[in-house]
C-alpha cells in the first residue's frame, strides 16, 4: 500500500527553482533515505510533503487521499482546512533542531497535542506517552523541561512526541546534524529500533553508513532533481550516475 505519493513536485522561491519535477513514492513499512549535497532541495521537499511550504505544481497524496493536486490549467489546488487537518494526522516530522516547546515538561510536550488536537483522554495520553518514553530510555525525564536535557535526549523526546500521534509515516530532516558526534549514536539507535518495528520513514541524512544499513530505498538529489534512486547497494555502492559518484567520493575518503 502506498502511504505517500509525491508526484511531479515543483517549487520555486522567487526566481530560484528549488524542486524541479520530483516524484517520490513511499510504501507502507518502507524506509526511504534522501541524500544529496547542501542546497539540493532535500529540506524543501520534506517541508512541501509536511505542508509547511506550498508547492507550485504537482500532487501530494497520503493513503490515496489528496492533500494537493494540479488542475488542467496548471493551478495547484489544496484541499480545505478540514481535510488538511485530517491529512496532518497521517504524518509526523522530526526537526534538525528539535523544536520542543520549552515551557512544557517532557510529558506535556508529548501529550499536549494528543489531548488538545486528537482529543485523546488525558489518562490514556499519559499512558501512551509513558510507554513510549520508557521504550526510548527516557522514563526518568518525564518531569524535566527541555533545557534540562542533552541534545540527544531532546531529539529522542521530539521523536516520542511525533510517534505519540500514531503517524502513518515519520519524516526526519537531518535528525542528528545538530548533535555532538558522541550523541548521534543514541538517536540513530532509536530510529533503527523504529525500522525494526516496521515504521514507515523518510529520512534526510548525511550519515551514509546509517542510510546504507537502514534504508530500503535511497534517493540521491542534486539541484532540485532526483538524480538516482534504488536500493542502498545500487545507489551507495555502485552508483550509475557520475554526479552520485562524485558526491559519494567525499564521504568515502575520511
Amino acid at each position: 500500500m502506498k502511504v505517500l505519493e509525491l508526484n511531479n513536485i515543483k517549487k520555486a522561491f522567487g526566481d530560484l527553482s528549488v524542486l524541479q519535477d520530483i516524484t517520490v513514492t513511499v510504501n507502507k513499512g518502507e524506509v526511504v533515505a534522501i541524500i544529496g549535497p547542501s542546497g539540493s532541495g532535500k529540506s524543501t521537499l520534506l517541508r512541501c510533503a509536511t505542508l509547511l511550504e506550498t508547492i507550485d505544481s504537482g500532487e501530494i497524496i497520503y493513503l490515496g487521499e489528496h492533500a494537493a493536486r494540479t488542475d488542467a490549467s496548471g493551478h495547484v489546488q489544496y484541499e480545505d482546512a478540514e481535510q488538511l487537518k485530517n491529512i496532518r494526522s497521517y504524518f509526523g516530522l522530526v526537526f534538525q533542531n528539535f523544536n520542543l516547546f520549552p515551557h512544557y515538561s517532557v510529558m506535556k510536550n508529548v501529550t499536549d497535542a494528543l489531548i488538545s488536537v486528537q482529543k485523546v483522554q488525558k489518562g490514556k495520553a499519559k499512558e501512551r506517552a509513558s510507554a513510549l518514553l520508557e521504550k526510548m530510555g527516557l522514563q526518568d525525564k518525564a518531569d524535566c523541561y527541555p533545557y534540562q536535557l542533552s541534545g540527544g535526549q531532546q531529539q529522542r523526546v521530539s521523536i516520542v512526541r511525533a510517534l505519540a500521534m500514531n503517524p502513518e509515516v515519520l519524516f526526519f530532516d537531518e535528525p542528528t546534524s545538530a548533535l555532538d558526534p558522541e550523541l548521534t549514536g543514541e538517536v540513530l539507535k532509536v530510529i533503527r529500533s523504529l525500522s525494526e518495528d516496521n515504521m514507515t520513514m523518510v529520512i534526510v541524512t548525511h550519515e551514509m553508513q546509517f542510510a546504507q544499513q537502514i534504508a530500503d530505498t535511497v534517493y540521491f538529489m542534486d539541484a532540485g532533481r532526483v538524480v538516482e534512486k534504488g536500493s542502498p547497494e545500487s545507489v551507495l555502492q555502485s552508483p550509475k550516475e557520475e554526479r552520485t559518484q562524485r558526491f559519494l567520493e567525499r564521504y568515502s575518503t575520511p
Binding site: 487537518k85 526537526f95 523544536n99 515551557h103 497535542a113 488536537v117 523541561y145 533545557y147 512526541r161 500521534m165
Partner: protein, 237 residues
C-alpha cells in the same frame, strides 16, 4: 493643617491614583495585544491591481496595507505627543470638536480612556517585539502536530512571549505609577492634584514630600510583584 490630616487626605488621593493605575492596566494590556495584531496585519486589499505591473504608482497602491498603516499612525501619535495633551483632547474634544456637552463624571472617564489608549500603544509595540522574536520552528512544530492557529498562539507562542517581554512590561508599569499624576492636567483629583492644592492653600511643601513617599512605596510594591511574576516564569528557558 496637621501632618496627620495631610496624610489622610493624600491617602484618599492615592486610592484614586491606584484606581487609574488598575483600570489602565486592565484595559490596555489586552487592548495592546489586539493593537499589536493590527500592527502586524498584512492585509493588502488592492493587491489585485498588482497584475498590471507597468506603472509604479499602481505597484505602490497595490502594496498598501490599510490596517497596518492605520495602527502605525495611531501608535506614532500616542508615542509622539505628550500624554498630558492626549488627556486634554479626550476631555475637551467632545465639547469643542463635536459640541457634545459633557457631564461631571466624564472627567474620570476621560482620564481612563486617555491612559488606556496611550498605554495600549506602548504595550502593543512590546508585544510585537516579543512575538516577532519567536523562532519560526515553534510555529512549524505546532502546525505539524495539528494545532490550530488559535491554539498555537494561545498555548505555544503567548506563554513564551510573556516571559520574553516581562522586563519591558515592568518598565512601563512603573512609569504608569508616576504617570497617573498627569491626570492633574484635566483637574482630576488624584494624589498629585490634591498635593498641589494642599500645598498652595497651606503654603507648605510637606504634601509633596508625603506624595513622593507614597509614589515610591507604591512602586516598590509594583516592582516586588513584577519580580515575583518573573521568578514564576523561571521554570523554563
Amino acid at each position: 493643617m496637621t501632618l496627620g490630616t495631610i496624610i489622610t487626605q493624600l491617602a484618599n488621593g492615592l486610592l484614586k491614583s491606584i484606581l487609574i493605575f488598575s483600570l489602565t492596566l486592565i484595559g490596555s494590556l489586552p487592548l495592546g495585544l489586539f493593537v499589536a495584531f493590527g500592527r502586524m496585519n498584512r492585509w493588502t486589499p488592492f493587491k489585485k491591481f498588482a497584475l498590471n505591473k507597468k506603472s509604479r504608482l499602481i505597484g505602490l497602491v497595490s502594496s498598501i496595507k490599510p490596517v497596518q498603516m492605520l495602527i502605525k499612525l495611531y501608535i506614532s501619535l500616542m508615542r509622539g505627543t505628550p500624554l498630558m495633551l492626549q488627556l486634554m483632547v479626550v476631555y475637551f474634544g467632545p465639547y469643542y470638536l463635536l459640541g457634545i456637552s459633557i457631564g461631571q463624571n466624564y472627567r474620570f472617564y476621560a482620564v481612563i480612556i486617555g491612559f488606556i489608549l496611550n498605554y495600549a500603544a506602548y504595550f502593543a509595540e512590546i508585544y510585537r517585539s516579543g512575538i516577532e522574536s519567536m523562532p519560526v520552528g515553534q510555529y512549524e512544530a505546532a502546525a505539524v502536530l495539528g494545532y490550530s492557529k488559535a491554539q498555537t498562539f494561545i498555548k505555544i507562542i503567548l506563554p513564551q512571549v510573556i516571559k520574553r517581554i516581562l522586563p519591558a512590561i515592568t518598565n512601563e508599569v512603573i512609569t504608569l505609577v508616576k504617570d497617573t499624576s498627569l491626570a492633574f492636567a484635566i483637574a482630576y483629583t488624584e494624589m498629585f492634584t490634591l498635593a498641589r492644592k494642599i500645598a498652595s492653600s497651606q503654603t507648605t511643601l510637606v504634601p509633596f514630600v508625603v506624595a513622593g513617599i507614597f509614589y515610591y512605596f507604591f512602586n516598590l510594591l509594583v516592582a516586588w510583584f513584577m519580580e515575583r511574576c518573573e521568578n514564576k516564569l523561571n521554570y523554563f528557558r
